[in-house]
């Protein structure tokens, strides 16, 4: 016991079982690299994208509907070709991924905040409060998430004045996707809270006199976060898909700031006139991103709870 000095946070992470499991799993390494590349190229799109698809000065209608660079009529400036307005597909994908990822992350965080708080309260307080929250969750679960998102989107469109539509749609989208996903978090957190609240460290805190709010925040919350992180990762993939679906249906983000879903919808119209690249490449990008995030989530679930396999 003599010579033990405080281990730094990084040293503890590198020594942990989860890091060990990560370095042994090629799936986890590859999917996290892919995810990081997509996130990186999305975040830094304004600096690394070959051209700016939203700079009206730079767009030339003469470049419209060019096939990918390796085709006969391709142009080396546009690696993956251009759409009907002469915007480079690669660049629109990078900008589009920005929107998709923003909506994905924001709605997951929103879901987490709502779901975790309600789950903690439900599990810790119990009784009527618990029954009411969980019945609301049950009711919501009986509707498909996409339906709730569509409904909320429709309501928001009715309430917000027309000229503000384009500015607020993205936040409406975050709210709609976020609110349709909180139930999972609430249920998981409630279950873990029921276990944790009967553990003796929570009772010790109660005997000291710590108030319920502090007990939940300081003692229970850190101990229920494990499964939540797994759900969040898988939920991120679902949220991105939901956003794409909504945008594909035309109720998502406006075409002026297209997300991957919007790009697929726009391209869809050209699919049968031979301009396949307009829709295939955004679609492939979406599949790769969602698959990588999903595999990462699966790995995380197995690593945190080997018994679940």
């Amino acid at each position: 016991m003599e010579n033990i000095v405080e281990k730094s946070r990084i040293a503890r992470i590198l020594d942990s079982d989860i890091w060990h499991s990560f370095t042994r799993s090629p799936v986890a390494i590859i999917s996290s690299i892919v995810t990081l590349i997509v996130i990186f190229s999305a975040v830094f799109a304004p600096f690394i994208a070959p051209n700016d698809p939203f700079d009206l000065v730079a767009i030339d209608i003469m470049d419209s509907s060019l096939p990918p660079a390796w085709e006969v009529e391709g142009d080396p400036r546009f690696l993956l070709g251009t759409d009907d307005q002469g915007r480079g597909i690669l660049s629109t994908i990078m900008y589009g991924a920005r929107i998709s990822l923003f909506v994905g992350f924001a709605s997951v965080i929103f879901s987490m905040i709502v779901g975790i708080s309600l789950g903690l309260i439900s599990g810790y307080v119990g009784g009527r409060t618990d029954a009411i929250i969980m019945r609301i969750a049950d009711i919501q679960l009986s509707f498909p998430a996409i339906l709730i998102a569509l409904l909320l989107d429709g309501v928001a469109r009715g309430l917000v004045p027309k000229e503000m539509h384009n500015d607020v749609t993205i936040y409406v989208l975050v709210f709609a996707i976020g609110i349709s996903g909180w139930v999972q978090y609430a249920r998981t957190v409630r279950g873990s809270t029921l276990v944790e609240k009967n553990k003796e460290y929570v009772q010790a805190a109660r005997i000291i006199g710590i108030r319920p709010g502090t007990i939940l925040r300081r003692h229970v919350l850190p101990n229920v976060m494990g499964p939540v992180m797994v759900i969040a990762t898988i939920h991120l993939a679902i949220a991105i898909i939901t956003e794409a679906t909504l945008s594909f249906l035309g109720v998502g983000v406006p075409p002026t700031t297209p997300s991957l879903g919007t790009l697929i919808r726009i391209g869809n119209e050209y699919l049968f006139s031979g301009e396949w690249w307009i829709t295939i490449f955004p679609g492939a990008a979406l599949v790769i991103l969602v698959l990588a995030v999903n595999l990462l989530g699966d790995w995380l679930r197995d690593a945190l709870n080997p018994k679940l396999r």
């Binding site: 003796e200 460290y201 006199g209 710590i210 300081r218 003692h219």
Partner: protein, 575 residues
Amino acid sequence: MELLDIKGLQIEFPSRRGTVVAVKGVNLTVRPGEVLGVVGESGAGKSTIGNAVIGLLDPPGQMSGGEVFLKGEKINDLSYEEKRKIRGRRIGMIFQDPLTSLDPLQTIEQQLVETIELHLKLGKKKSRERAVDLLHQVGIPDPEVRIQNYPHQFSGGMRQRVVIALALCAEPEVIIADEPTTALDVSIQAQILELMRKLCREKQVGMLIITHDMGVIADITDRVAVMFQGNLVEEGTTQKILGNPDHPYTKSLISAVPRADVRLRRFPMVDYIEKEEDRKMLLDISTHWLGQGRDFGKIEGPLISVKDLVMTFVTKPAFLKKNRQSFNAVDSVSFDIKQGEVFGIVGESGSGKSTVARIISGLYKPASGAVFFDGTDLTQLGSEKKMDVFRKQMQMIFQDPFSSLNGRMRVMDIVAEPIRFHKLASSNREVETIVTDLLEHVGLGRQAAVRFPHEFSGGQRQRISIARALATRPRFLICDEPTSALDVSIQAQILNLLKDLQEELGLTMLFISHDLPVIRQMCDRVGVMKMGKLVEVAETEALFTNPQAPYTQELLSLMPKLDKLSHKGLDVETS
């Protein structure tokens, strides 16, 4: 000839942090009709031996050396299929938890008859006759009827009898029993041990009994093997090992066992396994932080007074009140605890003793009755703020050292939490000084503060719990089975520590335990609880020498007899 012969057994558990050798070159033999005890503390490798013999080592564990012979036949290198045939047929097994070793979805008949048919190749009718006969032998009343019951329809002790019947049903040559009575109450333990002893003699079966409990060893075994950190340190007749041990580990282990017949001042030489950091010895309470703010004034009457406490638990919840079913876990319990006294509550599981502790500490609200602390009724306080004054004076130490500390917090923050909450120190620096001082005071080094709970052993964690409980400068400490999850030598250390602290700080204590010898060592007065009722309250000496209530007499008579144990070097308190 030896029935079971284990030679040079070596078992390894490879892991990414290096290979752990769990058992190092152990030699053991079991003769027909003999009970061999393997005793040791957690991590000594005793259960691993049992699992290796029957070929059920948990992966990645593996036998890396040695041989196992059953009646002269080498069985350790048999194929999985051949080992499976030996298990149950030639080697019977009894595990710790009778609840999980029976299939809850099958009746006792199905389980017994199936096993008998499989191993003895008898017909259905013959098998059933044999099953009924076995149940009769293990002392289950009405076996013809009871055989059709499911496991959950039996009590814990009865279930363990069924498990023994299951182990015996194929007429095995050897029985391996891994902690067979640890999950049972004392009164049932005595019956089960007697039964095992008798059957072993009658049927000339060899038995290997693995346990941490010296009481079980003294009760049932002929010979004892003492394990320590994977090594067999000493082997001999039970008489010899308990009465006149040679190895220093065995000596310290035996001296650490709490006795019911004498009261010790302190437990001697108990740091063989886990060295206690040099504890700051007796401190000057008038100048030390722990002594400040303790001028509570002289109190009249008892410090704690419990009046007609009733606690009801709902067993069958329902929407309408009249449909709800409930039972009284605590039923009109009243007692007083004087200032500076250690009051014990003893009782078997389900007697309501822990519930009483939780009501006094404010975790449960009683259905009726009152808890007076220095004259104030705690159940009528109402507001949290008013309660805080009393919370500061009253702290609790829990049973399970693995769940009583928040694994996500550093020890520093765990111990500092009550100090910060009750604002007992003015600056962060002061808090840190107090915490390191407290940690040193409970026998942990100051380095402990920056580490996380999972880096400590059970005993060390219990010390952290004690430090946290002391951090509010309490005058009343509730200890709910503080050592029942610990090994004997660690238990002795913790009991010594609690005794020292109680003397130094003049603490009043409520000490709850199912273990009568521990109660004898710790308490001034004792209350005996049975099914939610307090059946007797008496001075400790009087209770042990002259029990009044019939239930107390029964409890005392069923206690494992430890009179064979050596008394050498004990610091006996003389009244």
